[in-house]
Symmetry: C3
Subunit: 442 residues, 3 copies
């Protein structure tokens, strides 16, 4: 549990908050690349960390991430004209480029120097891995963008999506690093035979892997109390959750938390497609969740993409505004009969099950009333790291300037029960915390 | 009028408030029995006194009324599994029985005693008179359930319903003990002849009786300023409103207020079906109104039940979520032409007329701006009793532990104008404040 | 820019605020005359300056503007009966006349004098120029109604409408006295040839005149930085915006701001129909905008009326609740392709373009973040006048008791560049600030 003070410190990320300042020292996803049109297409509204912003691509193809308010009298530049290398307010024709410079101020006499005083707040922005990333601190030195593996691969090897969620970003992220819940939330109903479950339960399969996952469903169901190991590294934390497998074996599921708002899923066996997510606060009671899947060995097939779009693995089925079809206001279309007979929740989709439970915790979960146990060690370590980083205000977080530290992997493994997490990782990835940066040239 | 301080004291009933504490010392209706399904059926959400709760029936048929939040990390147990004598959270499988004991805590190692520390808030619950009653004070000694007459009769003799109302519970209850409003709100339009009114106005009939009510409509219309008498008794207050009838007669309408949130309607003549209501706050700006009709002499007929379900007497016509069809957001489908020609309000239904006027007072009426007159004596007495009881904090309210004091009746009577209320009651019910407990064995 | 304190002083107009008190010293439009039915028709809800009120016409044709709350126990008199020269509450039959006198208090004994103590808040009201005007200060001496020219003409010469707007009234009014924005907001797209624009752009024509406006479109587009002159007068401020026209000529557009909440449009050339507006706060985040058009020389034709109703000039296209069809929650049906090719905004309608930009400033624009320039002189003068007037609390504003000062005109003119605004006005209207009262007998 946390004190109310620390819960607020952890969860409030608007302008002027300490957690907000921490997040602003990192490049964070602010949109899918697919959302932004071609040169001079209409600007798109995005709200990030409580700030109403606009995203637009100018005539030369550059992308701007700017304040939505015209500095003249506060008109919304969303209604503006994106033309001739700038965004022009339709109220009085003031015009700004992607860097926030005022290009034209026609309501001023020709000899005026007023224009030089006028700036529109603009944030640096980059495209990588199918996402648009923004850096929302105007004052800080601009670091290089983190080298997540999925951003280093050809487009054919990655698939990205996003979804809206009606709760604070932290409890949603905590759901991803708490891999103990797999033994329940995403499982078949208890009445379903575990052997049959692998075949009968596409949801459980989706939560575990893209392929057959017979043994894994059984191991996860049979051991609901995995043993957690946490290994800190330069970009975040590696979590290992160990469950009893067959004989003397342990089934490891390893997860990466990457500062400040990413987590990688623990499912992938060698060769399988990997999944990760980033949680970007819209405001303190809602967030956008960016989900990226990548396969370093082969392209994502169109069959896989179709499954992801229909809600598979941790991709959600969403409408054209990226709002999930199964959501809080329709109780996720819960089917109580299905819950009784087939699935643990009666809710279709791994991503939707996660959303249901995370939103059900309330807009901002009250962590002063929690009762944490052994399987919550990962969450506790995550909170400690984030709170300490937020309280080091002024100090630039080291991870922000270590882009290479982000080239990591994680996933599932089966090993003899005497082998440590570090050794399991070294065997699987060649590095104790999953660093695979040497495969890519900087 | 009340001071703003006393208005808040009277109307705020959430956790930690003085009025909330008072209400929690009584058994109060929290649902209709029909709302809760059979063993292991899905849990139902109920919000009572500002607390989000769940109601569920376990495998053995026992009913639980429990906190909606899992004590682990605050997930909503509504999405939980009701199975094998307990409600299991789908996040990590924690399981609780109807008494709040933790039956299973699978994310903990086998040798852990952590489970013994974990409790889910659970409140005692009973079924009586077609209602589910809860007792929302975990610390107080549990009293016996109040012996309202309708809870002592066979099911065939009673009819219950509920409706949602968008205002504070107190002003709604005050509408029921203020019987002066019958001369207006529920009457035919002034242009309608009083003699013809009984025949032509089903609404006025519904407000007065199930049967012919010719004289009563006339007496009520002709004397809009009834004289009020208040007789306190162990369970609450008896109100008598005396109007001029024919000759030297007085038409008495008597009402019971029963601590802390019940009132009985004043209409019934001997043999007629009686009606009562309980107002249970959902939060301070909305309440559930439970309406119960009973006839101690004969079963309720199916024709009567059909009328009640269609909105008759003080039963409302509601949708499948118990929300009235004629409600604030559609202006109660007021028909101004009907208001001009036929009914005083142009709104169909006694219950809907009451709701219209009570909700029109605002979410919480500002009693510091009132101007109370002679016919508001009942309301004044009610407020005095409730405020004094709320301020006696710590002291258990005597009525809460006197279940027999609730077996009372009231209704209409015609008597010579020199006869007092106490004598009218003794003549009609054998007791000065309507106590009929001797008819039922404890 | 304004300080936050002055921004609040300028924009907050609820009961007890200084700006609210100022507005209450003037007659202000509270409804269209068409909204109020015949004698004894149902009362209409109106919310003015944050006060929930009712408007009704009694049996004798008198109009009442009264508090919506019954003084007895706060029931909403909207559900009341408008009958026999008064409005009767349906709860207990209390009845009030248009002056707030209690005519009947039937729940009181015949000999009671309680009724004499009871009053319903009622405000003076008058009908003029197709509008209902109210005076919302019960204590102040009642001035004569301001003699706006459109209120002095036969009904056939005027056309009135109203629309809802979701922002503070001040920023909406500021949009009307800021005539610099015409060079942008209401123009054809830059790619459209200015000569062709007059023919091709009905929107630009509508913003400029009812008739051909070839030269005017060109002059307005070619000079986006008009020179502003402000001439104070007894009822408000005259603004002149001077743009370069052909040769040595200046194209003047003159606007009247009339205390406390009117502005006249600057378009009309001699003989053309004139337009004006009044902004009446519903609450601080929304307002009703009354638009009146008048032609002192001839009746408004039915073709003109049809155009106005369909959204022409500064009349908006509205639904039967006076809510614009193109509005904030549907992004004004902005057509980005039309914005690219034809019009500056892609939004249809001058009135809708104004609403879009004014609402886009937010519910209450933050004037502490503005950057005002040369073309904002009119706005600056307006704010100074209003703030000074609001701070002179207690002092009756002189304009309020000078009804004749309101008989003014304004409009467009072309004159040699050496002629001053005062002289231009004298040439056009016979008076330096447009006073034309001598044409009308008092």
């Amino acid at each position: 549990m946390l004190s109310e003070t620390n819960n607020r410190l952890l969860t409030e990320a608007g302008p002027g908050t300490q957690m907000g300042e921490l997040l602003r020292r990192f490049w964070i996803p602010v949109a899918l690349a697919e959302e932004i049109g071609g040169p001079d297409s209409p600007p798109q509204r995005v709200t990030v960390l409580g700030e109403p912003l606009l995203l637009f691509r100018d005539t030369s193809g550059r992308i701007g991430l700017v304040d939505r308010r015209c500095p003249h009298r506060g008109a919304d530049l969303y209604y503006g004209r994106n033309e001739a290398c700038g965004l022009r307010c339709v109220y009085h024709g003031w015009k700004f480029d992607v860097d926030g410079n005022c290009l034209d101020l026609p309501t001023t006499p020709a000899d005026s120097r007023f224009r030089e005083k006028i700036r529109l707040t603009a944030y640096p922005v980059q495209e990588a891995g199918g996402l648009i990333w923004g850096f929302l601190d105007s004052a800080a030195a601009l670091p290089a963008i983190p080298r997540h593996e999925f951003t280093l691969l050809p487009d054919a090897h990655i698939h990205v999506s996003k979804k809206w969620q009606d709760c604070n970003w932290v409890q949603a992220l905590e759901g991803a690093i708490d891999t103990a819940h797999l033994s329940f939330l995403h499982m078949p109903a208890p009445s379903v035979d575990a052997g049959a479950a692998a075949a009968s339960s596409p949801v459980s399969q989706a939560a575990l892997s893209d392929q057959d996952s017979d043994g894994r469903v059984r191991w996860v169901r049979d051991d609901p109390c995995p043993f957690f190991t946490v290994l800190p590294h330069a970009a975040g934390l590696l979590f290992g959750a160990a469950r009893r497998a067959d004989g003397d074996d342990t089934y490891w599921r390893t997860t990466q938390f990457l500062m400040p708002n990413h987590a990688y899923a623990p499912n992938a066996f060698p060769g399988e497609t990997q999944h990760g997510q980033a949680w970007t606060p819209a405001d303190d009671r809602s967030c956008w969740i960016y989900t990226y899947s990548w396969n370093s060995e082969r392209p994502i097939t169109s069959a896989e993409r179709a499954k992801f779009r229909g809600g598979f693995s941790i991709h959600s089925e969403v409408d054209d505004r990226y709002v999930p079809l199964r959501r809080l206001d329709n109780d996720y279309l819960i089917d109580r009969e299905d819950q009784r007979r087939n699935s643990f929740t009666g809710i279709r989709g791994v991503s939707e099950q996660d959303a249901a439970i995370q939103e059900s915790q309330g807009p901002i979960v009250d962590r002063s009333r929690e009762h944490l146990g052994e399987t919550d060690l990962g969450i506790i370590a995550f909170r400690k790291l984030m709170l300490a980083s937020a309280l080091a205000d002024g100090e630039a977080p080291p991870a922000a300037s270590m882009p290479d530290a982000y080239t990591v992997q994680c996933g599932g493994a089966v090993a003899h029960r005497d082998i440590s997490l570090a050794d399991v990782m070294r065997d699987r990835f060649g590095h104790t915390t999953g660093h695979v940066g040497s495969r890519y040239k900087s």
